[in-house]
Amino acid sequence: MSLEGKVALITGGSRGIGRAITLRLASEGADVVINFFRKRDTAKDTAEAAHSSGVTAHIIKANLAEPEKIDRMFTEIEERFGRLDILVNNAASGVARSAMELNSDAWDWTMNVNARAALLCSQRAAALMKDGGVIVNISSLGSRLVMPIYTAVGVSKAALEALTRYLAIELAPQGIRVNAVSAAAVETEAMRLYTSDPNIPRSMVTSTPAGRMVQPEDIAGAVVFLCSDEAALIRGQVIIIDGGLSLTPLSYTSPGDRGVQNASA
């Protein structure tokens, strides 16, 4: 599944899920451009780790809530690499409030970073994907399921998933494949923003049929698959990575292997 010679931009690619995606794409041979929001040292650290795979790793600071910063980022990519093959719209931000407590600033910020930036990045990326390319949007189960104080992010992810479908069709003639990966809560620092309950990870493990929480590397694996030729005919889909969590209506506890059970005597 080599991505050698490809150039990939990972927005929010310096930490958490973004870092795992960056490092996995680099390990497959892609040169990586790591967009980061504020922490330059964290981005440098990820770039060094990516570079150890023998690829070029470049960091660009850009607040994706601002269209002019997105423009500047792509101008830099164009000047430095002259092309782009893979775009991973991973950067996400959000204001953790219930619907009744959301104000317009919080709504705009969340929608701008999580949905509008994905559109603007895709527009600029498509122009640089001269030989076709791949766009992967990182969503979450909150686009379909209701979670406490997740309103703005959940709605923005629903918009991102809808955008995925529209882009998939509109960019298909240019040989650009667009899909999304949606995850249950992933064990990262960001998850702590939505819960102060130390027991949450444990309860999520016990209610996940797969028996463990989703890790950033699980998302990265799906992203790499979607970037490969093996996924050539997958278009506009949302691949859910949740260990089966969203399929269980009630808190699920594995009964263990009981062998073959016959319903009739």
Partner: protein, 84 residues
Amino acid sequence: MTVSPSVEETVKKIVTRIVRKQEGEFKPNATFKDLKADSLDVVQILVAVEDTYDIEIPDDELQNVSDMESFVACIERIIANKNT
């Protein structure tokens, strides 16, 4: 000759623009809470200040910020360290 605005003047403009207050409400002893700045406002203020001065404000520096006076002092210190 152009005189650059002081860090305090620049920070005052950034903070009051983002929290939608009159510049007169930016007092040395005013806290972010006094200015009704929520967590999103604070993030936007930090990003705007960082972009303006091409600096990074470390989280541990912010631990010592209690009001606008200490916030401005923190930024001045980071700018001074950058230029040395």
